[in-house]
Symmetry: C2
């Protein structure tokens, strides 16, 4: 609470946020029995490596291999009966795609997903395996928002945003509720929490959950260096865009700018932002496979990578880290394992 209040005072206003902790609690009730309660794990080897106690939220073990199922199910399960036959449309680089496709399948409604043609093959294949229709676009020349909107209008379907949506944010926040409770059960009060950040939906929801259950925890977003819009935006207190045409191996974290709903939440509740290079993210992928025995994609590894490379002083602090997604193409994982022998 102290952080939120202080930053809020600095912003000079007490604007209402689009989502409340109560929305996250309500999402958790909706998700009970549908989403996996992923484990929060610790390893002596990791603790020794970073010189502190680390709790890893292994969200790669979530249904569809990423947290995106949480938000998607929370959103889709609230569609009115008359909206369901026309189904949903989403645009996504791949993890939101799978989350929406899987939730639509469970709820028995059609899904159309607009995906970049260079999305990881595993994400394209999984999305199709959930029965969704995949419409490809060129990430660098076409406008996925326009394509998605046109499809939704044409089919009278509901457009499901990847992060800038109250129900999506609340759904992702259930990860935070779980982690705060798991930390408490393990007697590990988290001083710091590091969480990957693309459009900021997950970390916004997680921050809301922590504002209710563990308000003293200082939460940091972690982004790829070329997509560090949230870090710069938190510093300037005003939303900043990334350089057009920037590239990163972290395909899950290529949002152009902070969300209109997510940024006000993150500006109020986050302690700051960090960034890692693609090289550091890949080394994090290799470390995670070799030592933690978990498969994580580059974008899902950035928070752990920030910790492993000392982007923040974590000594003598209890640290939480979220591994957000594990949908990496096997050939890329193979390549990283060979290039980063540890």
């Amino acid at each position: 609470m102290s952080i939120g209040t202080a930053q809020n005072a600095a912003d000079g206003q007490a604007e209402a946020l689009a989502v409340t902790p109560e929305d996250v609690f309500a999402a958790a009730e909706r998700l009970a029995g549908h989403a996996t309660i992923t484990p929060a794990l610790s390893w002596a080897a990791l603790d020794e490596r970073v010189g502190t106690r680390v709790l890893v939220k292994a969200e790669v073990l979530q249904r569809t291999g990423t947290f995106k199922y949480r938000g998607a199910y929370n959103r889709l399960s609230q569609l009115a009966p008359e909206q369901r036959p026309a189904g949903v449309v989403a645009f996504s680089s791949g993890n939101h795609a799978q989350g929406v496709a899987a939730a639509a399948k469970v709820l028995g409604m059609p899904a159309t997903i607009v995906m970049p043609s260079d999305a990881p093959a595993i994400k394209l294949a999984n999305t199709r395996a959930f029965g969704a229709e995949v419409v490809l676009y060129d990430r660098w020349t076409e406008d996925r928002v326009a394509i998605g909107r046109a499809l939704a209008a044409e089919r009278a379907a509901t457009l499901v945003p990847a992060f800038d949506d109250p129900d999506i944010i609340a759904g992702q926040g259930t990860l935070g509720l779980e982690l705060a409770r798991q930390a408490e059960e393990k007697g590990a009060h988290l001083d710091l929490l590091l969480c990957p950040c693309g459009g900021g939906g997950l970390i916004a929801g997680v921050s809301l959950a922590f504002s209710a259950l563990s308000p003293e925890t200082r939460i940091y977003s972690v982004e790829p260096e070329a997509f560090d819009d949230t870090r710069r935006s938190l510093e300037s207190r005003v939303a900043q865009r990334n350089t057009p045409g920037a590239r990163s191996i972290c395909d899950a974290l290529l949002a152009e700018e902070p969300g209109k709903l997510t940024f006000p939440i993150n500006r109020r509740l986050l302690a700051g932002g960090l960034a890692v290079s693609d090289d550091e993210a890949c080394a994090g992928v290799a470390y995670t496979a070799r030592t933690l025995k978990l498969v994580v994609e580059p974008g899902g590894a950035v928070a752990l990578a920030a910790l492993l490379t000392g982007k923040i002083d974590a000594r003598s602090k209890s640290v939480g880290v979220v591994l957000t997604g594990g949908n990496i193409d096997p050939p890329l994982l193979a390549d990283i394992l060979c290039r980063y022998p540890g």
Copy 2:
């Protein structure tokens, strides 16, 4: 109990077993706070693939990446104060090596481990990283038992067997206690349990745990085809050896014959034995990385591989599967990911 009693009657005697369920409960108390309580996980995608409900004991997330830490800690923590300064000696293809080395480090005693020179590099490196002295031998021409005994005698150190030891068996059995309780918490009464088997220490301990907590569960050992001594021994009711010189990619499961202590337990408590080919084990490794987002070594994947390849009729049954170890060399994992695209 029914299975145990029936088979016991068939054997025509009620010989006392070397380990009791009470020994496993006592080991669990010793291990509390030292070994990781690894999660028991389920995936909708896996359930759909095999047409039944599957609970996976993700023991690759254990300290040292394998269940071996359980038995090693249980054994070493019971050494008398006067035995500790001289330390311990073990011979192992790699996972027991790491378990003993890690437990010795925690308990502050020296460890010498006799390992085959062709052991996976990750196992050699990890064992040394825990501070143990590693003595190499040629798996195909030298006698590791003789080397280990000579070293132990020379140093007045305690020899710690890999599986044929009551404290080792009881320690490994704590995995079974956890799994039986986790299954109950999840409302999943296990009809079947599939567990990798080398010398039979883990499955013996697990079977003792289940005989107390879930006696109706039918437990099957799973071995590599060329090392199916337990399967054949269970069929003939008499211990059978493997063909000398046999090879398998499952380096963790290359025991020559069932243990003198483990086989009487397994003969009484197991429902039967299964075996998979190296090719099936590797496909299991690839599936586990791709879909379950867990890193497992070939020997650790054989139980899941048996389920995935239909070695037993699991339809309409609730099935438990143990993933026993994740210490696979990154280049081998890379190779398997490329050769088994799924």
